[in-house]
C-alpha cells in the first residue's frame, strides 16, 4: 500500500495540522493494525462503517474508516518531518509524496 498524497484540510484550528492521507488502495484491518503498531488503537467495528483512531508514538493521530482510500492525520507543526518519516516506514512502498502542500 502506498501513500499517494497528503492534502491539507482546513480544520480552523491554530497550531494543529490536519491533512487527508490518500492511499492507492482501500484501508484494510491489517493496514490499520500495522499503522497502530507501537501506538494506541481504538477500533469501533460496530459502527455502520468501522471507525478507527490511532494515537501513534511518532506524534500523530490517524482517524478514518476501513474501506476508504483515505484517513485523516492530525499532528503539531513541529512533528511534520517525523510524521512523514513514520508514514514512509509504515506504508513501506511509499515514495516521497509529490504534491504535499503541507510541507511548504
Amino acid at each position: 500500500m502506498k501513500v499517494l498524497s497528503l492534502i491539507p484540510l482546513d480544520d480552523c484550528l491554530g497550531s494543529t495540522h490536519s491533512v487527508r492521507c490518500h492511499l492507492d488502495a482501500a484501508m484494510t484491518e491489517e493496514a490499520m493494525r500495522r499503522l497502530a503498531e507501537g501506538g494506541r488503537l481504538e477500533y469501533f467495528p460496530h459502527f455502520p462503517r468501522p471507525f478507527f483512531r490511532v494515537d501513534h508514538p511518532a506524534h500523530f493521530i490517524a482517524q478514518g474508516v476501513l474501506g476508504n482510500d483515505h484517513f485523516r492525520l492530525t499532528y503539531l507543526k513541529q512533528y511534520k518531518d517525523a510524521v512523514r518519516e513514520a508514514l514512509q516506514t509504515i506504508f513501506s512502498e511509499s515514495e516521497p509524496c509529490q504534491d504535499c502542500r503541507t510541507c511548504s
Binding site: 480544520d11 480552523c12 491554530g14 490536519s18 459502527f47 455502520p48 482517524q63 485523516r72
Partner: protein
C-alpha cells in the same frame, strides 16, 4: 449525504438560482444603454432592497463577499486616529481582523463586549462602554457559533441617539431575521453574505446603507462610467464598486433573494428553529449545547455542541465518515467567541440547519450523536 453546514454556505442551491446563473452566462453580454437592456445588477439591488425596507437601490453595494463589504465600510469611514470602536466577542474574523488592522495602523482602541450569563447580548453594555472618542459600533446580528441574536433594534436606536455609525454583520441572519432600515436617519451599514440563507452562489456579498452617505471608496478602478475622471466617480454605487462585477453570480443571488421573499424569511426561519429545537430539546447524553439561546430562539438554525471527552474535530470526522453527515468543527473563524465560551482552542461541533433539512434527518443525527457519544 446529510448536509448540516448551512451556516457556512447553503446546499443544494434552488433550481431557480442555477437557471439564472446559466441564463446569465449563456446570453451575450450586453452594454448599458442599449435598447431593451435590463441591468441585471440593478435587478439584484432591487431584490435585496426588499429585505430591508429601503427604497433606493443605489444604496445597495454589491461585493464579492461579506468580508469585502465589512472592509469597505470600515475603511470607507476613515475613522480618525486614536478613535475607539465598540464590538463584541462574538464577531467573525470578517469584523475582527479588519478592525484589528485598522487599530494597529491608527492607534485605535477596541472594546470587545461579552455575552451575559444566559447567552444573550445586552445593549446596556454598549451604553456603559461608549466614550467621547467612540466613533463606531460594529456588531453581528446573529452569531455564527451559537446562533444568538443581538437586539438590533435597540442597538440601532442607541447608535442613532449617540450619532454613532453602526456596522451590522448580517451574514447569518439576512433572509431569516428581518431588519427594517426604512426610517433610519443615522449612518447604518448592513453587510451580508449572498451564499448563505439567501441561496446565492459563493463569491457574492453586499452591503446596504441607511442614513447619510458618508463612505469613501476603499478600492479604486474602472466603473464603466465617467472614465475620464481621475479618481473614483462620486455617485453611488460606482463610488464603492470598482472592477468587472460578478454578473452571473448576482443573477443567481437575485433569484435566491426572490425565492426567499416569496417563501418569506419568517417561514424559512421557523423551519430552522423547529429543527434546532428538536435537536436541542432532547440531546443524547453526554452532549451539551454550548451557550443555549435564550428562549430557544434558533431562527438562524445554528447550534454548537460539545462532548466532555471527544474533540469536535474527531466527532465531526466520525459523523462525516461513518454516517455521511456534514457538519463544521473548530473555531468557525470566531476565536474570541470560543475564548469567551470556554471552548478554545478546540472549538465546537456546529450543526446548522437549512431549507433542505427535515425532522427525519435530525432524528438520524441524534442517533449518530448517541452512538458516538457512547463509544
Amino acid at each position: 449525504m446529510i448536509y448540516f453546514n448551512h451556516a457556512a454556505t447553503s446546499f443544494p442551491r434552488p433550481p431557480a438560482v442555477l437557471t439564472a446563473i446559466q441564463a446569465s452566462l449563456t446570453q451575450p453580454p450586453q452594454e448599458p444603454g442599449r435598447s431593451g437592456w435590463e441591468d441585471p445588477l440593478m435587478e439584484c439591488r432591487r431584490a435585496l432592497m426588499g429585505l430591508f425596507g429601503l427604497e433606493d437601490p443605489l444604496r445597495v453595494v454589491l461585493t464579492a463577499s461579506a468580508t469585502l463589504a465589512c472592509n469597505q465600510i470600515l475603511r470607507g469611514l476613515e475613522l480618525p486616529p486614536g478613535s475607539h470602536v465598540i464590538t463584541s466577542c462574538m464577531e467573525h474574523n470578517s469584523i475582527l481582523r479588519p478592525l484589528a488592522a485598522w487599530a494597529d495602523q491608527n492607534q485605535g482602541e477596541i472594546t470587545y463586549l461579552p455575552l451575559e450569563e444566559d447567552g444573550s447580548f445586552s445593549s446596556g453594555r454598549i451604553r456603559a462602554a461608549v466614550r467621547d472618542s467612540t466613533r463606531l459600533l460594529a456588531f453581528t446580528h446573529a452569531s455564527n457559533v451559537t446562533g444568538v441574536l443581538f437586539p438590533m433594534e435597540e442597538i440601532i436606536h442607541l447608535a442613532a441617539e449617540r450619532s454613532l455609525p453602526l456596522l451590522i454583520d448580517a451574514s447569518q441572519s439576512v433572509g431569516l431575521v428581518p431588519l427594517d432600515l426604512g426610517a433610519i436617519s443615522s449612518p447604518v451599514f448592513v453587510a451580508g453574505a449572498g451564499h448563505k440563507a439567501l441561496q446565492g452562489p459563493p463569491g457574492t456579498g453586499f452591503f446596504v446603507m441607511a442614513g447619510p452617505d458618508v463612505l469613501k471608496p476603499w478600492i479604486a478602478g474602472g466603473t464603466g462610467v465617467h472614465s475620464l475622471d481621475r479618481t473614483q466617480p462620486p455617485m453611488l454605487p460606482y463610488r464603492l464598486e470598482a472592477g468587472t462585477p460578478n454578473t452571473s453570480g448576482f443573477a443567481g443571488l437575485r433569484a435566491g433573494v426572490l425565492q426567499v421573499l416569496e417563501q418569506t424569511p419568517q417561514v424559512l426561519a421557523a423551519h430552522r428553529c423547529t429543527l434546532a429545537q428538536t435537536l436541542v430539546g432532547d440531546l443524547p447524553t453526554p452532549w451539551r449545547v454550548v451557550s443555549p439561546n435564550p428562549e430557544g430562539d434558533y431562527r438562524t438554525g445554528v447550534v454548537s455542541l460539545s462532548h466532555p471527552e471527544k474533540s469536535p474535530s474527531e466527532v465531526g470526522l466520525m459523523l462525516q465518515e461513518i454516517f455521511g453527515i456534514e457538519t463544521r468543527w473548530g473555531l468557525h473563524c470566531a476565536p474570541l467567541a470560543h475564548q469567551h465560551l470556554g471552548t478554545f482552542p478546540q472549538g465546537t461541533l456546529r450543526i446548522s440547519f437549512g431549507e433542505s433539512n427535515t425532522l427525519e434527518q435530525v432524528a438520524i443525527l441524534k442517533d449518530a450523536l448517541f452512538q458516538i457519544g457512547m463509544s
